[in-house]
């Protein structure tokens, strides 16, 4: 893509400062939206743009907004999900640190569209720099009259609070986030009721990802048709891809939705370094099924990746070369999910720990042949049977790793050790 929209901070120095942001057209879209559009028109525009959530689930943003009750005596809240914690994902962080006003402008327009007067930005606790820069930007915006009372003289009021999370993956699940924001343990809520009717403090609430909201000013500025013209129509727009792992140029890439995975890895991110070859790639963050090298000609948009058997998720592209033991890779993932399962639902609480235990055994060469099928069976018993998607997030990679790299799991059993072990090395893997 010739022009970067979501990563303008890469091209414009000091974009995080309000004066610089405004000098480059900042808040003009907000002014346009608030003074020239009605909330209903904005919701329709976002619907027409086919913007889909960038947090992982890919739910159509305009449709989510339209689930709010038409009349509500209770206040409506916008919660910005800035709890970016999916392993392999680091796109929102760059926006918040280097282009915080882009998020705030998105918050302003979106709040106006959903008739919200108090927006919360729930930022991952570890992102201290982003937190500080967001607050600085919020204060600048308040001083400039962009937040507070009577914004742009329209009579619209909006306050923004930036809230730091306290360190749990589950706080990124939208109802877990709401519980956490209410000061409770972040147990995801049973649905129904959905946040659109019973969300934060029991009030109608919209939870949107950072990148999603950053798309909104561009849709206002250039129109829904323009947005829909980028990439596939049902899953369009500019998209941030986080490329990490065994890759020559790891980092965040802004590319049109639908850019083939192969192109992202080999053309944009420079391919696999050190003369190694690709062994597998996770397309959408740790929760999503892994692709083998034979599967990487997939266009990276929500529908195409799903058709290919995985999910675009958070677009966290994790590249693994042929030095990686796939048993060890899955063990690493399951260690994470075991640690992060909130423990509320039985299948996830017990299943994540069980898979972790079995994988530790297999990776150490102490596993049995039956353990390989046991993993598949446990994952199957977890899938779809819990309140939130964390059980699925743990089960899906297990199924994909074990199915696609089964021989490697069985070799661990047969050899009673990791086949990739370098003689004399205590750890099985240099990068372990």
């Amino acid at each position: 893509m010739a022009e970067r929209l979501l990563l303008r901070c890469r091209d414009i120095p000091d974009l995080r400062r309000l004066d610089v942001y405004r000098a480059h057209g900042g808040y003009a879209q907000a002014q346009k939206a608030l003074t020239e559009q009605t909330p209903e028109q904005l919701v329709e525009m976002v619907k027409a743009s086919n913007l889909r959530g960038r947090g992982g689930a890919g739910f159509p943003t305009g449709m989510k907004w339209s689930f709010l009750p038409k009349q509500s005596e209770k206040p409506v809240y916008l919660c910005v999900n800035a709890d970016e914690s999916e392993p392999g994902t680091f796109k929102d962080r760059e926006i918040m640190e280097d282009d915080p006003h882009a998020l705030l402008e998105g918050v302003l327009i979106s709040s106006f569209a959903i008739k919200c007067h108090l927006a919360y930005i729930y930022i991952r606790g570890e992102m201290l720099l982003g937190y500080e820069r967001l607050w600085t930007a919020v204060r600048e915006a308040y001083d400039a009259g962009l937040f507070g009372k009577n914004i742009f003289g329209t009579g619209f009021d909006l306050d923004v609070v930036v809230h730091r999370g306290a360190g749990a993956y589950i706080c990124g699940e939208e109802t877990g986030l709401i519980e956490s924001l209410e000061g409770k343990r972040a147990y995801p809520r049973i649905k129904p009721p959905f946040p659109a009717t019973h969300g934060l403090f029991g009030c109608p609430t919209i939870v949107n990802n950072v990148e999603t909201l950053v798309c909104v000013p561009h849709i206002v500025g250039r129109g829904a048709d323009w947005f829909r013209s980028i990439g596939p129509e049902k899953s369009p727009g500019p998209k941030l891809f986080c490329v990490s792992g065994h890759i020559a140029k790891p980092g965040v890439y802004e590319l049109p939705m639908g850019t083939p995975l192969r192109e992202i890895i080999y053309d944009h991110a420079g391919g696999i370094p050190n003369g190694r070859t690709l062994k597998g790639v996770i397309p959408g963050g740790a929760s999503m099924p892994v692709f083998t090298p034979a599967e990487i000609d997939v266009p990276m948009d929500m529908d195409s990746v799903q058709r290919a058997g995985s999910f675009l998720g958070s677009a966290g592209v994790i590249v693994m070369d042929d030095s990686v033991c796939m048993v060890w890779a899955l063990l690493t993932l399951q260690q994470f999910f075991h640690h992060e399962s909130c423990g509320q639902c039985t299948p996830c609480r017990e299943g994540t720990g069980w898979m972790h235990t079995v994988l530790e055994r297999l990776e150490a060469g102490r596993g049995a042949q039956a353990d390989v099928d046991l993993l598949l069976n446990v994952a199957g018993n977890m899938m779809g049977n819990t309140i939130c998607a964390l059980a699925d997030a743990a089960a899906m990679p297990t199924r994909a790793f074990v199915t696609k790299y089964r021989a490697e799991f069985e070799e661990h059993v047969r050899l009673r050790r990791c086949p990739l072990r370098v003689p004399g090395e205590t750890r099985a893997h240099a990068h372990g």
Binding site: I190, T352, N385
Partner: protein
């Protein structure tokens, strides 16, 4: 009013009902751990997953509202597989220490394992997560974290019902554990309810544990007598011995709960202080007497008292006794003091506990016994020499007077003939010429009227000890001697007689009182 089809059976139910509730109406039990009708819906245990037509995923029956035309399968292959999976997960880190677990026999893990699982564990023993066992978390409750299935019933109880927040879930994943919140002890007045609602052996009763295996116990529906609320209970007993009380659901009285004081009151019903014999005063000591002659003696004394007669009757008495006492007093021309006495420091709360510690104060009102003479008027009459016969029915007048008992003692000494009818020995009984041992409310058929005017059934759970007899039967015998031709052979017959006489009870059929009682104008 949607019609829902569950396992091929159709039922029309009101809007908003959940699948688990609709199934219950059809007599279909959908297995569940975390759902409890008295608590908010948590949806965490996943045991109630069922298959619903047109829904790709299994749904939890506890949080799925019925809809018109909904078709539910509670026993399909997919449902069965999910139930097996959930039970396997629940038992994965469970210690399986049933032989030493007090919950055995009333444990939902045991029951559902036999009903829905029956597979061998695929988890190696050394891999189990270890947690704390036998942790006392309050005066009445013992916690075993390893047996806990984290259904959050107990934490929801202390959050939603008592709002005391002593318990919470800490840590994450399979290291989650229920524990006391920092600085707290589980000592609220309703603490032991968490033991009842714990579906497994994680929370056991320090009062009851290891005293009996539950499968040896029988249970009888009853009403707690510890205060005027009349919480519905089950009395658990074996071979005449009472082991514990547990609350019995009654949406109009106590929902699903009871207070700790009421629960522990089971211990006071039996024991050394019970009156076990008919006692008659000899020259300087009591002699053991016989019922026949004692009842005859009392009857003839009342027939021909040769002076004034006074009755003191308390709100500890069931309706049947109050009715017969009223009838007896009327025949003897006695003055009657109906007394509802509670200790000076008795308190109540805004939930179940009433400051009135009598089960039948409303009964006194029902029979017009509250508006008679005051206790002081009885002492006045005695001091004026106008009382020759004093009947004290479940009325420990010396104990009631506590520190100021001098006047009462002197009055009792002055009355030529004192009859004491009671369950337990007391200082008052020392002044009696005749002591008749009565049955407690756990030992009689009958009724009591709670503070809100609800008439509820008592049942004989255990036989009265020794020579003790049901109060209604003793009084009926006395009445029968004064009213020849009258025969009353059961508490039910007493009820029928009083229902014919007391307007508030008109039309109420003893057999029709039902498990939740009947509301009357008391």
């Amino acid at each position: 009013m949607p019609t829902v089809n569950i396992d091929g059976k159709k039922i029309e139910v009101e809007d908003g009902l959940t699948v688990i509730q609709a199934a219950e109406r059809l007599g279909i039990e959908i297995p569940h751990y975390c759902w409890h009708p008295g608590l908010s819906i948590s949806g965490n245990c996943r045991m109630c997953l069922v298959e619903i037509e047109k829904q790709p995923k299994l749904q939890i029956a506890c949080n799925t509202r019925v809809a018109e035309g909904m078709v539910v399968q509670t026993g399909s292959e997919r449902t069965k597989a999910a139930q097996r999976a959930v039970l396997e997960f629940l038992l994965l880190n469970h210690p399986i220490d049933c032989p030493v677990c007090d919950q055995a026999g009333e444990c939902k893990l045991q029951e559902y394992y036999m009903d829905y699982d029956r597979q061998r564990s695929r988890m190696a023993l050394p891999d189990k997560v270890r947690k704390h066992k036998a942790v006392p978390i309050g005066p009445l409750v013992m916690l075993d974290q390893e047996r806990c299935i984290l259904c959050a019933r107990c934490t929801r109880f202390v959050d939603e019902v008592t709002k005391t927040h002593e318990l919470a879930i800490f840590e994450r994943g399979n290291h989650c554990e229920v524990a006391l919140a920092p600085g707290k002890t589980l000592d609220n007045p309703y603490s032991a309810n968490v033991v009842d609602i714990c579906p497994v052996g994680a929370l056991t009763s320090r009062d009851f544990r290891f005293r009996a295996r539950v499968w040896y116990l029988q249970k009888t529906d009853a009403v707690c007598g510890a205060c005027a609320n009349g919480c519905n209970i089950e009395i658990f007993h074996r071979e005449g011995r009472i082991y514990r009380f547990q609350p019995r659901a009654n949406p109009d009285v106590n929902q699903y709960w009871m207070c700790d004081a009421g629960r522990l009151s089971c211990h006071g019903l039996q024991g050394e202080s019970r009156l076990l014999e008919v006692l008659t005063r000899g020259t300087d000591s009591f002699a053991v007497g016989e019922w026949e002659s004692a009842v005859g003696g009392l009857a003839s004394t009342l027939r021909d008292p040769a002076g004034g007669v006074a009755f003191v009757v308390s709100a500890q008495s069931p309706n049947e006794e109050l009715y017969l006492l009223r009838r007896l007093a009327a025949r003897a021309g006695a003055m009657v003091a109906g007394v509802s006495w509670s200790p000076a420091d008795a308190t109540g709360d805004d939930f179940l506990v009433k400051a009135d510690k009598n089960p039948n104060t409303a009964g006194l009102r029902l029979f017009g016994l509250d508006g008679g003479a005051s206790l002081d008027a009885v002492w006045d009459a005695i001091e004026a020499g106008r009382v020759r016969v004093l009947v004290l029915h479940r009325s420990d007048v010396v104990g009631w007077a506590s520190g100021a008992s001098k006047r009462v003692r002197e009055a009792l000494e002055r009355v030529p003939y004192v009859a004491v009818l009671d369950t337990h020995g007391s200082e008052t009984a020392q002044y009696a010429n005749l002591v008749l041992p009565l049955a407690t409310y756990a030992e009689v058929d009958g009724t009591v009227t709670n503070h809100a005017g609800r008439v509820q059934r008592l049942r004989e759970a255990v036989p009265p000890p020794g020579a003790a007899r049901a109060g209604w039967s003793v009084l009926a015998d006395v009445v029968a001697r004064l009213e020849p031709g009258l025969t009353i052979a059961s508490a039910e017959q007493v009820f029928t007689a009083m229902a014919a006489e007391v307007p508030a009870l008109a039309g109420i059929d003893h057999a029709g009182i039902g498990p939740h009682g009947v509301s009357v104008r008391a």
